[in-house]
C-alpha cells in the first residue's frame, strides 16, 4: 500500500481489531470457566440440599410414584435451569422436578458427569443417601449454560461492533491530522518555482520531518552550488566564444568588402584558422564538462601508454602539418597503466597539443618515462618558450592565457589536463626546463600502478 495514511489506518484498525478480538476471546473463556464453576457449585449445593431435605423427612420418599405438583410459571430465559431426580437404589424413580426427563440423568453413582439425553447435554451431580437408599441427581441443561455465556459475550461485542465505525472515523481523522505537516511541506514544495532553491524553514516542524527537511535543504544547497557553477561556466564559455566569433565576423566582412585578391585570400585563411580555433575551443569545453561530470566513467581499464601517445600525436599532427615530430621512448612505449583510458587520452591530448603548438617545427618533442621514489611519471617535454615563472601557479586556471600563448590557445588545455589527472588519481606537474621549453609530468603513485600492472598483466583476475 503506497499511502502512509492508508497504511497507518489499516495498521491501527487491524491492531485495534486484534486487541478487541483477543479481549473478547479472553472474556469468553474466563466467563465460561467462572459460570461453570458457579453453576457446578450450585448443582452440588442443590443436590445436597435435596438430599438433606429428604433425610430430615420433609419429603416422604414413600409417596413416590405420584409426580410432584407442577407449578406453572411462564418460561423465562433462565427459568428451570435445574432438573432434579430422586432414584431409589433399586432403580425406581422416587421423584423428579417438572423439567426433568423420565430416564436417569446419569449412570454415575456420585459426582459430576455429563450425559446426552434426547439430543440435550446435561451436566449432572449425583449424591447418594445410603441411609434412605436413594440417590439424588441434579442436572443443568448445557444449552442453557451456553446461552448464558453467549449472552454475556453478545452484551460486550454488540456495543463494540457499533462503536467500530465511529472508531474507524476517529482513527482516520487523527491520522490525517497527524500527517498534516507532511502535506504542508508537500504544498510548499509544490508551489515552488524551479529557480527557488532557498532552504525550507524547519524550526517549527515536527521532529520526524526535520531530518527530511534537513536532507532536502542539503540537496537544495548542493543543486544550487552546482547550478551556480554551471552558470558561471556557461557565462565564461559564452564570453570566451565571443572573441573568436568577432574575429570571424571581421574577417568575413573584410573578405566581402575588399576587391584586393591578396586581402581576400588572407581574410579567408584567417577565417579557417579562426574556425579551427573555435572548433577546438568547443571540443575542449565539452571535454571539460565531461571530465567534470564524470561522463568518462570511473572504470579502471588499462592504457597502452605508447600506443595512446602515438595515436594522439598522429591525430594532432594531422591538423598541424608542419608541427614538430614527437619521439616516444622505448621504456614508455611498453608501459601499461591501470587507469581510465578516456581520462588518460583527454589529459594527454591537451598536454601533447600544448607541446606541439608551442614547439618550433624543427625541434622534436620527447615523451619519456621517469621512475622516482615511490612514483612514476609520464613526461612530455617541448622546446617551446615555456611558461613565465610568475604564471606557473595560474596556468591551470580556466581561461587563463599567458603571455606565451599561441593563436590556437583557449586557456582551457591545462585546466582540462589537470582535471583529468585528478580524476584518474594522478598529479600534473609543470616546470620550465633549464635548456628551454616546458616539461609536463603526469605523476602516478608507484604502488598503485605496480599493483594495477600486475592485475592487468595477469588477465584481470577481479
Amino acid at each position: 500500500m503506497k499511502s502512509i495514511r492508508g497504511r497507518l489506518f489499516m495498521i491501527l484498525m487491524i491492531t485495534t481489531g486484534v486487541v478487541w478480538m483477543s479481549a473478547i476471546a479472553w472474556i469468553y473463556f474466563s466467563t465460561k470457566a467462572e459460570v461453570e464453576r458457579v453453576l457446578d457449585a450450585r448443582l452440588t449445593e442443590a443436590a445436597r440440599m435435596v438430599s438433606s431435605l429428604i433425610t430430615s423427612q420433609e419429603i416422604d420418599t414413600r409417596k413416590a410414584g405420584s409426580p410432584p405438583a407442577t407449578i406453572t410459571v411462564p418460561h423465562v430465559a433462565y427459568d428451570r435451569q435445574l432438573s432434579c431426580q430422586i432414584w431409589g437404589f433399586d432403580g425406581t424413580l422416587v421423584g423428579r422436578s417438572e423439567s426433568a426427563p423420565g430416564q436417569p440423568l446419569t449412570d454415575r453413582k456420585s459426582g459430576f458427569s455429563e450425559t446426552s439425553i434426547g439430543g440435550e447435554t446435561w451436566r449432572v451431580y449425583a449424591v447418594e443417601n445410603p441411609e434412605l437408599g436413594i440417590r439424588v441427581l441434579v442436572g443443568d441443561n448445557l444449552r442453557v449454560r451456553d446461552r448464558l455465556v453467549t449472552d454475556v459475550i453478545r452484551g460486550l461485542a454488540l456495543p463494540a461492533l457499533l462503536i467500530l465505525p465511529v472508531l474507524a472515523g476517529l482513527i482516520w481523522l487523527s491520522v490525517r491530522r497527524g500527517l498534516a505537516p507532511l502535506n504542508a511541506m508537500a504544498r510548499t514544495l509544490a508551489t515552488r518555482r524551479a529557480s527557488d532553491l532557498s532552504a525550507l524553514p524547519h524550526s517549527d516542524s515536527p521532529s520526524e520531518i526535520k531530518p527530511v527537511i534537513r536532507s532536502l535543504n542539503g540537496l537544495f544547497a548542493r543543486v544550487s552550488a552546482a547550478r551556480e557553477h554551471e552558470r558561471d561556466f556557461t557565462a565564461f564559455a559564452a564570453h570566451e566564444l565571443r572573441t573568436p566569433i568577432a574575429g570571424l565576423k571581421t574577417q568575413a566582412q573584410i573578405a566581402l568588402g575588399s576587391s584586393d585578391e591578396n586581402i581576400r585570400e588572407n581574410a579567408l585563411r584567417q577565417i579557417v584558422v579562426g574556425v579551427d580555433r573555435t572548433a577546438r575551443l568547443v571540443r575542449q569545453l565539452t571535454d571539460l564538462t565531461n571530465a567534470e561530470n564524470g561522463e568518462f566513467g570511473h572504470d579502471e581499464g588499462h592504457v597502452d601508454v605508447g600506443a595512446a601517445l602515438r595515436e594522439l600525436a598522429d591525430d594532432i599532427r594531422q591538423q598541424h602539418r608542419n608541427a614538430a615530430p614527437v619521439s616516444i621512448s622505448a621504456e614508455l612505449a611498453q608501459l601499461k597503466l591501470g587507469v581510465n583510458p578516456s581520462l588518460f587520452m583527454v589529459g594527454a591530448r591537451n598536454l601533447l597539443e600544448n607541446a606541439i603548438l608551442h614547439s618550433p617545427p624543427d625541434k622534436p618533442m620527447r615523451c619519456c618515462l621517469r621512475r622516482g621514489e615511490g612514483d612514476l611519471a609520464v613526461v612530455i617535454e617541448d622546446c617551446g618558450p615555456g611558461i613565465p615563472e610568475d604564471e606557473l601557479p595560474k596556468v591551470c586556471d580556466r581561461f587563463f592565457r599567458g603571455r606565451n600563448q599561441t593563436s590556437m590557445g583557449s586557456g582551457l588545455g591545462l585546466a582540462i589536463a589537470e582535471l583529468a589527472s585528478a580524476r584518474m588519481g594522478a598529479v600534473l606537474h609543470l616546470e620550465n626546463r633549464a635548456e628551454g621549453g616546458l616539461r609536463a609530468e603526469l605523476r602516478f603513485a608507484q604502488a598503485a600502478t605496480d599493483q594495477r600492472r600486475v592485475m592487468s598483466t595477469d588477465g584481470d583476475q577481479n
Binding site: 564570453h239 568577432a246 565576423k249 571581421t250 574577417q251 566582412q253 575588399s258 584567417q270 603571455r403 593563436s407
Partner: protein
C-alpha cells in the same frame, strides 16, 4: 589617422588591422599590456582601440595609466563582457566609447571617426576648408562641389593637414600617421604624395614651410 589596437586574439587583431586600414586608418597592433604601454609612451595616436582581457593584465590598467598621464586620446573599449555594469565600469575608468563583441567592422570605424572628430573639436561629420569638403567616412573630397579623386595616402595627408589648419606637420609626423611600424617607407614617399595632392587640388592649398614641413593656411586668412 593613427590608431593603436590592443587585442590578444590573433584572428581578430589581423581582421581589425586590415579592416580599419581599408577604412583609411593607420593601425598599429599590439597584443599585450606591456607592448601597449610602451607604444603609448613612445608614439602619438589619434585613438586607441582596447580589449579588456589581455594575457598580462586588464585593458583598464592601460586606460588608467593613460589618463593618469593626462592623455586625452579617445579610447574605444572592445570586449566580450558587455553587461551594463561592465560598460559603466569601463566608461567611468575614462573610456570614451564601448563596443561588445562581436561587432560590425564598419561600426568600429564609424565610432573611431566620431571619437576623433569630437577630440578635434568638430561636431560635423565632414571637414571644411574654404571650398574643400572632406568626408572621412566615404573618403570623398570635393572642391567647389566638384569631386576630386584622391588615393588613400593622399586623402590621409589632406585630412591630417585640414584637421588643424595653420599647424605645420613635419615629414616624419606625416609618415607616422600614414604608415604602420612594419610598413616599408620609401624615402621620398611623402614628397610624391604632396606633389600629387597639389596637382589634383590646384595651387595655394598645401604650403611648404622650408626645412620644417607642410601646412595649409588657416581658413580665415
Amino acid at each position: 589617422m593613427r590608431v593603436l589596437l590592443v587585442e590578444d586574439d590573433a584572428v581578430l587583431l589581423n581582421g581589425l588591422q586590415v579592416g580599419l586600414g581599408m577604412a583609411g586608418l593607420t593601425v598599429e597592433a599590439v597584443s599585450n599590456c606591456a607592448d601597449a604601454k610602451l607604444a603609448l609612451e613612445t608614439s602619438a595616436f589619434d585613438a586607441v582601440v582596447l580589449d579588456l582581457m589581455l594575457p598580462d593584465g586588464s585593458g583598464l590598467d592601460i586606460l588608467e595609466t593613460l589618463r593618469q598621464r593626462q592623455s586625452k586620446v579617445p579610447v574605444l573599449l572592445l570586449t566580450a563582457r558587455d553587461s551594463v555594469p561592465d560598460r559603466i565600469a569601463g566608461l567611468d575608468a575614462g573610456a570614451d566609447d564601448y563596443l561588445g563583441k562581436p561587432f560590425d567592422l564598419d561600426e568600429v570605424a564609424a565610432r573611431l571617426r566620431a571619437l576623433t572628430r569630437r577630440a578635434g573639436g568638430h561636431a560635423t561629420a565632414t571637414l571644411h576648408w574654404r571650398d574643400i569638403v572632406l568626408d572621412p567616412a566615404s573618403m570623398n573630397v570635393t572642391r567647389a562641389g566638384e569631386p576630386v579623386r584622391l588615393s588613400r595616402r593622399e586623402f590621409s595627408i589632406l585630412r591630417a593637414l585640414i584637421d588643424r589648419p595653420g599647424q605645420i606637420l613635419s615629414r616624419s609626423q606625416l609618415e607616422e600617421r600614414l604608415y604602420g611600424w612594419q610598413e616599408e617607407i620609401e624615402s621620398n614617399a611623402i614628397e610624391v604624395h604632396i606633389h600629387n595632392l597639389r596637382a589634383k587640388l590646384g595651387p595655394g592649398v598645401v604650403e611648404t614651410v622650408r626645412g620644417v614641413g607642410y601646412r595649409i593656411a588657416e581658413a580665415s586668412s
